[in-house]
Amino acid sequence: DTAVSQTPKYLVTQMGNDKSIKCEQNLGHDTMYWYKQDSKKFLKIMFSYNNKELIINETVPNRFSPKSPDKAHLNLHINSLELGDSAVYFCASSRGLVTDTQYFGPGTRLTVL
């Protein structure tokens, strides 16, 4: 009965490759997010979707493109991976407004070689 799930848990890839991370929530929430946690554990929001519409788009390279096929899913596609993209990426969801409590997924540890 996992609330927010992500796949894969680990992703190791070469520079220049394109990869995707998938996120699904079964909480019936309307809003979903992607966060990046760097090597110093600092968490920063990247994107937020509400009912499949993009509502937050932080200063993130164009190589990162979120896609929300329905309100229970928010995927993250990354083109032309760079060394600096290595991080843990967390998906989260909240019931409605962005001010509601956010529930986080288990994270995807991306390592770019």
Partner: protein, 114 residues
Amino acid sequence: AQSVSQHNHHVILSEAASLELGCNYSYGGTVNLFWYVQYPGQHLQLLLKYFSGDPLVKGIKGFEAEFIKSKFSFNLRKPSVQWSDTAEYFCAVIGTGTASKLTFGTGTRLQVTL
């Protein structure tokens, strides 16, 4: 723009010691406040939150936090820590406007020794 400061980066305590982790924020309006915990190798879990009402909020696992509006603070406390409390603790703040974003502090690593 809002920001969150957690002044203690690494705290080491013996079991049964009392804990207080500082969190200060800057924001010009009403805020919702959170403490999340990240156990080693795991995802973030909500410890407690403050939206309104009693400024002393109780969370899971015996944690509590007090919102002091005049000091822009939301410190986390626990009277007696356990070894299993070893984790990274994050304070987070969001303004109540629709364009707000959840902003995290840099985290405090708590190490509890036996």
